[in-house]
């Protein structure tokens, strides 16, 4: 039991409540409190990360999902009765049993819904990413948010609470609760402090994602009830590790049940990721959101979808993942990679370009995950982090450009490198990281994802790889047009804009350094997630022999270890 885990989630919440009480006029106090709050949260996240890394792998259970530190408390105790099936039969048949009489003598058992927080390598990475990006958001909004400052920071901190909670939740329903909670602050962030079309963007984002996630809720309920119904010894059917232990092996649900549950769960996740035909809310929301909103949205929030797939679909519904997930998700991912890249190529608005590039990059992430082998999944997790860092930083930088010139249109900007050399240098660096230049983080993640997919479904990997080329094309074009060449700034704008200042630098530099670190020396990160990734990949390794069409049975020569050896 680690008390630090609930503290990690309550800390931003408490800070948010304090900030809310600060009168709106004194924006300074709100900023200061949020800064200290997010700093403390980051520190706590790092302490917890240290505990995760140093803890000895398996924490008791031996299933495919194994939190290394955990905190459990009871939320609701339900009494489960097995009379459900009989009741259905009773309606047709027996006539004597009154509704009020206790039907059947089956003893009721208690099943618990828990406040089950935990952390393994995967969630640890995403928690640190969340804490870091929120801190950057606080810094970057320092001067650009002038209205209702305390409300803004309160929303940002609420959002952080929801995200940290979702990544630390190891209870199905708790995960869903945090997953949903994030909608509320983000709705306000986009709707109040966003761009000209903010109302429509906020509406569309909220309703689109809510509709999907309500179907996810039905799927979760079906999952939990089927699991609890099929195994009488399961006392905690909401706990992801306990479910995974049973459902990944012998006790898997019948395949047709899995298929339906997979579809229902995916409804929420594919919208959040977003996969190809469900991405239409994304460009609008990203573009209209204030800088901090876009950073969190792209950097962390989209990962809720991929994380949901990884946490729930892969370990809990192995057959459906294999039969339906691989062809469906991989196809949509590949389409998304190419389509997103082509859309980026066509954009004038830099922010929209970055937004569409998210569709493309998240495609790599999903592609790697649905390779269902250790390389692919490692690459996918790494890609989640990488995308969070690179795209988060790109949005930060675009926001800084916008703060200076009040436009993001490529045809109105040019040669900014002469006026803002340091900002331009960072922009080039982050673009290269996003493109996947060897030596920077994007390369490792994309390479592992593609290698993983190449081993299981080569065709998808080949098509997907074109996305990297397209990525280089649109990002370099953007750099060339707006940062190099002759200076061009909007006419209405005054003389010279100041280059990046210390506060702005503080928001981007840690991210850039992390990008470099992961690119040069990814071993610690890969080490941290290896046991968790391998535990999931093992399900499909075993299942491989049962599924004839697979390429999984090929020897799992771990590419990961090659990289580590370097």
């Amino acid at each position: 039991m680690s008390m630090l885990l609930p503290l990690l989630i309550l800390l931003p919440l408490a800070t948010a409540l304090v900030v809310m009480l600060v009168p709106s006029a004194s924006g300074r106090a709100a900023r200061q409190i949020s800064l200290w709050g997010t700093l403390a949260t980051l520190l706590l996240a790092l302490i917890l990360a240290g505990q995760v890394v140093s803890s000895p792998g398996t924490g008791g259970s031996s299933g495919p999902v194994r939190p290394r530190i955990e905190f459990r408390g009871t939320w609701i105790t339900f009494s489960w009765s097995d009379r459900g099936g009989e009741a259905a039969g009773r309606e047709v048949g027996a006539s004597e049993v009154g509704a009020r009489e206790p039907a059947g003598s089956m003893p009721d058992r208690e099943v618990r819904l828990e406040y089950y927080l935990g952390m393994d390598g995967i969630s640890m990475l995403l928690v640190v990413l969340t804490a870091l990006l929120t801190l950057s958001c606080v810094l970057v909004s320092w001067e650009s948010i002038r209205e209702q400052t305390s409300a803004f920071y309160a929303c940002l901190l609420f959002l952080e609470t929801g995200l940290l909670g979702a990544f630390c939740a190891f209870d199905v329903l708790l995960f869903y609760v945090f997953f949903e909670v994030t909608l509320i602050p983000l709705f306000f962030l986009i709707g109040i402090w966003g761009g000209p079309q903010r109302h429509f963007a906020a509406y569309k984002f909220f309703l689109y994602t809510l509709t999907g996630s309500l179907l996810t809720l039905v799927g979760l309920i079906a999952l939990v009830l089927s699991a609890a119904g099929s195994d009488a010894s399961l006392e905690t059917p909401f706990s992801i590790p306990d479910l995974a232990l049973r459902l990944s092996g012998e006790g898997a649900l019948p395949p047709h049940v899995q298929l339906w549950i997979f579809l229902a769960l995916s409804a929420g996740f594919v919208i959040k990721v977003p996969l190809f035909p469900f991405h239409t809310w994304l460009p609008l929301a990203h573009t209209e959101a204030p800088t901090a909103g876009s950073v969190i949205l792209a950097g962390v929030l989209l990962k809720l979808g991929t994380y949901g797939f990884l946490r729930l679909c892969l370990p809990l519904l192995p057959d459906a993942t294999w039969q339906l997930g691989v062809p469906l998700v991989a196809t949509l991912s590949v389409i998304g990679i190419v389509y997103g890249a082509l859309c980026s190529l066509a954009q004038q608005d830099i922010k929209k370009l970055v937004a569409y590039s998210s569709v493309s990059h998240l495609g790599f992430c999903m592609l790697g995950m649905f390779a269902l082998n250790a390389e692919g999944i490692s690459g996918s997790v790494l890609q989640m982090v990488n995308h969070g860092l690179s795209t988060g930083a790109l949005f930060l930088l675009v926001g800084m450009v916008y703060d200076r010139y009040h436009t993001r249109m490529m045809n109105e900007l040019g040669g900014l490198a002469t006026q803002l050399p340091r900002l331009a240098a960072l922009m080039v660096f982050m673009c290269l990281s996003s493109i996947g230049l060897p030596g920077l983080n994007g390369f490792v993640g994309e390479l592992l994802s593609l290698i993983g997919m190449f081993k299981s479904q080569p065709l998808f990997a080949v098509v997907g790889a074109t996305g990297i080329i397209l990525g280089a094309w649109y990002l370099l074009t953007m750099l060339q047009r707006s940062f190099f060449g002759p200076l061009k700034i909007p006419q209405s704008h005054g003389p010279a804009a100041a280059d990046i200042n210390a506060r702005e630098l503080a928001s981007v530099l840690p991210i850039a350094l992390l990008c470099l670190w992961i690119g040069v020396y990814p071993k610690p990160v890969l080490d941290a997630i290896r046991p968790d990734v391998q535990a999931i990949a093992r399900i499909y390794q075993d299942a491989g022999s049962a599924a004839p069409q697979t390429l999984m049975t090929q020897a799992q020569q771990p590419v990961v270890s090659h990289l580590e050896a370097e």
Binding site: I76, F78, G93, S95, E96, V177, L210, L215, I221, L225
Partner: protein, 505 residues
């Protein structure tokens, strides 16, 4: 049974209705005092009368808390049936009563204040007796004790032309629905030869070997139809939007919870009476018929309520459609009430949702009441524009209730919907599982119109001449109580869940 025995039996029974006796006596006191309060009496009279109501409700609540129900024999045939359900509904009534009194503290005209508060107490008493009644006659009288003071209260609250139209509409349709219920009751009496619910059940069970006469189904459908008016189930909902819009916000608050409580108690009692699985004619059982009717009722009610709410611009009218939609969700619980399997039975989920619904919808109305003044109420959604800047506290409260009505965490509304979905899914039939999916889709539709109010409050600028008055303190208190409950029932739902589980056990 000679005369003295009858008297003793009545006196004996009184023992079980202590809280109601307190409420009735207070109401009588208020009614007696009311003629002496004239239009020129000071405003402090209002606080005095309302304070009296709160004191009575608190006393009743204290009596309620210290009298948890003794276990009753399964075939209890007394006039009242003070089982767990009655006890539970009593608590819920008293809690919503306190909120209602706080919300309408200053809303009545000074010279009407005594009558109005007395009516409110009478209505609450009526619900308690409805929950406790174990006899068709008692049940009907209790239901009328709810209805008749409601007409008076609605009339006193708003004496404008629109208000009077609303009252008249409510009055006529309420009478009509009572008649339909009574018609159904008469069939039941004719079949069983007794008005006692338990005895009716026994009679129906006795004839259980052969098929029951079809008239049982007719009787039950008549009762369901009549009750549907109270719970605003489509197609018996059509009065609700007009009445909610026409009347004062306090009246709308009352109508949003009180008739639903009464209606669902009647429906629950009725479902419990049914001998499950008794055949009507070979091949069709009573439960199947009722299940089918309730299934369609639930689906149509929630869909119509949610879809029509999308086009509303008047807040109270919108919330009227929202209560229709929520009646649909509650009917989902009733539809699967016969199944007790899995994590949650329909009855538990229904009662849990009833509590949650009561707090969130009363809370929302209480905020609207607090923001309106006697002369200018909040009418259009546009009146709420920019509320977040003018009065952030009120906006936050209303936002909380609206998110709860949407069913989003971290509010109790989430657990309410979750339990209903679990109950529907646990029932295990394709019909009930499709009901769960339909309900989830409906919740998404519902989000759209709740979001419009929230967007008005937070995203839009203030209008030139804001309609919002200085908030009424007591009403704000009432909504604060509701807000606390809405959050508490999310963080710690165990307590309520145990209560509702005891009822259906």
């Amino acid at each position: 049974m000679d005369e003295s025995q009858a008297v003793r039996s009545i006196v004996d029974s009184l023992r079980y209705v202590h809280p109601e006796v307190v409420l009735l006596l207070t109401a009588c006191l208020q009614l007696l005092a009311a003629p002496f309060v004239g239009p020129r009496s000071g405003g402090s009279v209002r606080s005095l009368v309302a304070g009296l109501s709160v004191a009575a409700l608190a006393t009743a609540a204290w009596l309620w808390l210290n009298n948890s129900p003794p276990p009753l024999p399964g075939d209890w045939q007394g006039p009242f049936r003070l089982d767990e359900l009655a006890w539970f509904i009593r608590g819920l009534t008293l809690a919503s009563g306190i909120v209602l009194v706080l919300a309408s503290w200053n809303q009545f005209a000074v010279d009407d204040t005594g009558e109005c508060h007395a009516c409110l107490l009478l209505i609450l008493t009526g619900i308690n007796l409805t929950a406790a009644a174990n006899d068709l006659v008692g049940l009907f009288l209790a239901l009328e004790l709810v209805s008749i003071p409601t007409y008076v209260l609605l009339y006193c609250l708003r004496r404008t032309a629109a208000g009077q139209e609303a009252v008249l509409k409510y009055f006529l349709l309420s009478i009509f629905s009572s008649a339909v219920v009574l018609y159904g009751f008469s069939f039941l009496y004719g079949l069983a030869g007794t008005t006692n619910l338990e005895a009716i059940r026994a009679a129906l069970l006795r004839s259980g070997d052969g098929p029951l006469p079809l008239i049982v189904a007719a009787a039950l459908l008549a009762v369901v139809a009549g009750t549907s008016f109270r719970v605003t189930a489509v197609p018996f909902h059509f009065y609700a939007p007009d009445v909610f819009q026409g009347t004062h916000a306090a009246g709308a608050a009352l109508l949003s919870i009180v008739p639903k409580l009464a209606g669902f108690v009647v429906l629950l009692r009725l479902v419990a009476v049914l001998p499950a699985g008794a055949g009507l004619t070979p091949g069709i059982t009573l439960t199947e018929v009722l299940g089918l009717v309730l299934w369609w009722l639930a689906v149509i009610t929630m869909t119509v309520g949610n879809v029509l709410a999308l086009w509303q611009s008047n807040v109270r009218r919108l919330l009227a459609y929202s209560t229709v939609a929520h009646a649909g969700y509650l009917l989902v619980g009733l539809t699967v009430a016969q199944s007790h399997g899995g994590l949650a039975g329909g009855v538990e989920a229904l009662l849990f949702y009833l509590v949650v619904y009561g707090f969130m919808t009363l809370g929302a109305f209480a905020v609207l009441i607090a923001l309106g003044s006697a002369k200018r109420q909040i009418e259009a959604i546009d009146d709420l524009a920019g509320l977040a800047r003018r009065n952030p506290g009120a906006a936050l409260l209303l936002g909380l209730f609206l998110f709860s009505l949407t069913g989003l965490p971290p509010t109790a509304g989430f657990f309410g919907k979750f339990n209903l979905l679990v109950a529907a899914w646990s029932a295990g039939t394709p019909a009930s599982q499709s009901l769960a999916v339909i309900m989830a889709v409906n919740a998404a539709i519902g989000a759209a119109y709740y979001l419009r109010i929230i967007a008005a409050m937070y995203l839009r600028p203030e209008p030139e001449s804001p309609r919002i008055a200085k908030p009424e303190l007591p009403a704000l208190m009432g909504s604060l109580i509701c807000a606390a409950a809405t959050i508490a029932l999310f963080v710690y739902p165990q307590w309520l869940w145990e209560l509702v589980s005891r009822i259906s056990a």
